[in-house]
Symmetry: C2
């Protein structure tokens, strides 16, 4: 029997405890001795829970019990999650987590501490919820030169964009609906401004590059400025709007970005709708591979946490995997990235736009509600940014 | 340096040799000592190849060299691939392969031999080409009760169905085009009659159930009877036709099947087009996850083979993984499986169909070219089979 402890008896932590109970048969096929949740750390009491007797409020009870092989940190936030994780690793106890905020902010440091103490710090659940992505990237695609990642990494924003599109609804109305349904937080900023997706593309970029990518260095735009008009033009162009996290390596240049993009119909991310996530990886030999599933939710996220527990349990808690080095990855100046753009502007400004963009206009989408939509061929962000300044009435989005 | 040998210098074997050369830097990030192809077994000579000097025609040269840690079998077919693999495993040398025919026919036996000699038999490339699927199933989803697999598992048939749909073309015309482009074999039977897909769903079902699923036990229909009319009605129903391999576990009942299905627009497999494959896995906790990528081709398949080589090299060639037991899985009588059906029949027979199917008709698709399309709610194969006998003019397909 491998004894584990779960820190935080909230949505994900509760899911971990329930999953280990419900799926013990499946687990024993792989780990014949089975898994047992010996402790749950929470400052609250749960007298009505069947697991209430295992709840403790002192981390030292867990750290000082030599029977605990693996700790799951499902508290979220930086503190006290960081201190507890650090202490566990310093005790030589491996930790797995769903805490993307902590992984993005202090993951490099925690991996160093893990290595120094012969332990592991794993975080499959921090990106893509239940989707197996970090381990396949590390294990199944280790023979590839990964040159691109394009991901729908946040379910809340994907739900909002999908609803706006399907119901011709405004951002504000759909956000309220999403909050009522529990798909968006009362303070939705981390989701809608792209910060959550940004942490995830930083983690993915770090794994792929082997160096530390700081999420603060990644240009990040959210979806709060997206309008019904954007969706109407996207449809006209045979596209859907999706908030994407991108990583591109081309020779020595490396770009990463969070922004809403127009995704064309023949792209595999086009049909990733609602709360689902999809992550497309481009390798130099395997070409495109995509991983799709529920990017959040109690049981999918718990499933990813338990997959890490099982990896650690199978390796007696000592599976040390170097994810990335402390060395910082310097991203190329984002102004040098080439993109294609969709622009919409008042019909009256079409002639001015034609003069400014000239041959770079590859398609005119026609007029909708007094505005004309244009699609521009690839140009650097710098060139586009300079020209678009002469058209202050215009709105724009990038295209895949 | 881990020395390996490649059996068969054809499409996939050549890809393995080239990939290991081209991506040595990526490989060394994970395996600092690197990989080296010491031998290539082929009865042909390759005087113009930069690798020609490594080609040998005697398997014993390889088996008797103690420096060879891992063998890649990329010959295809049953013999001599089976004998060579068996000999290698009996020498304690682990083997990885892209040979789905051999895995489906003799995989259980080869895994037993591998276990008995402390070696491994791995076959990531045998299902889904370059898509990481077997290892994620085994490692990342080991905590799940897998209750369903739905896969587009054959690129040739998916290319043909996609082309028929997009170009309103007949099966025969598209098959000729696919043969001219090299997407279909001159003798296309294994692909178009579903046999290749059947081997793959047998492998997936064996991994998921832990028992040996014989592909001969799986009901298998191909796509050679699909007509333009089927595609026209599919469009009317908001669907696309795809050849699917399915595995369903419901209580004690276990079903597997290969057949063309109508896939609705909101299903993640709907947009898997052309030579791409997609495999949807349903777990009791993680819900749906899908894996997508190129199901065949020189470099994608080679990439999957090399991922197995790296797993074995990292474990000194000894990573023993029990994939499934020799015990045979008895599939439930396929007549008891419930499905929904699409039926098309001459307009003149609509009244007869209404009498026969009654309330089970959930939708009438209208008339096209003198035929009417109907969608029927779920019923067992047995009931459907009995009723449809009274309508010999009708054609039908299953629906997801």
């Amino acid at each position: 029997m491998t004894n584990i402890a779960v820190l935080g008896f909230g949505t994900v932590g509760g899911g971990v405890v329930e999953l280990i109970d419900a799926n013990q048969d499946a687990i024993r096929k792989r780990l014949p001795e089975g898994l047992y949740v010996k402790y749950i750390l929470d400052i609250r009491k749960f007298p009505d829970s069947p697991y209430g007797g295992r709840v403790v409020d002192d981390i030292n009870r867990i750290l000082e019990d030599p029977e605990v092989s693996v700790i799951c940190e499902t508290m979220g936030g930086i503190e006290p999650a960081f201190s507890f994780t650090k202490s566990a690793l310093e005790h030589g106890i491996s930790v797995c987590t769903s805490n993307k905020e902590l992984v993005a902010a202090r993951g490099t440091q925690l991996m160093e501490i893990a290595r120094a103490h012969g332990a592991s710090y794993l975080f499959e659940a921090s990106v893509g919820g239940g989707i197996p992505i970090l381990r396949p990237l590390r294990d199944s695609l280790a023979q590839e030169e990964i040159t691109g990642i394009t991901g729908i990494l946040n379910g809340t924003t994907n739900y909002i964009l999908t609803k706006m599109d399907q119901e011709d609804a405004s951002f504000d109305d759909v956000l309220k609906d999403a909050q009522a349904k529990g798909y968006a937080e009362r303070n939705p900023e981390a989701d809608i401004e792209g910060k959550d997706a940004c942490r995830k593309i930083a983690i993915l970029s770090s794994i792929v590059s082997g160096k530390s990518v700081r999420y603060e260095d990644i240009p990040c735009e959210g979806i709060s400025e997206i309008t019904k008009a954007d969706h109407a033009f996207a449809k006209l162009a045979g596209c859907r709007i999706r908030l994407l996290g991108t990583y591109r390596k081309s020779g020595e240049a490396v770009f990463a970005r969070i922004a809403p993009y127009l995704v064309p119909e023949d792209h595999p991310l086009y049909s990733v709708s609602g709360v689902f996530n999809g992550i497309l990886i481009h390798g130099n030999m395997v070409d495109d591979v995509m991983f799709y599933g529920q990017g959040a939710g109690r049981y999918p996220t718990a499933s990813a946490v338990v997959s890490d527990v099982m990896t650690l349990a199978a390796a007696d808690g000592k599976c040390v995997s170097t994810e990335w080095s402390e060395e910082k990855l310097t991203l190329t100046n984002a102004e040098r990235e080439k993109n294609t753009f969709f622009v919409r502007l008042p019909d009256s400004r079409l002639d001015a736009a034609k003069q400014l963009f000239g041959d770079t206009i590859v398609k005119t989408l026609g007029s909708l509600g007094g505005e004309t939509g244009l699609i521009l061929g690839p140009m650097t962000e710098e060139v586009f940014g300079t020209v678009i300044q002469a058209l202050p009435e215009a709105a724009y989005l990038r295209m895949l």
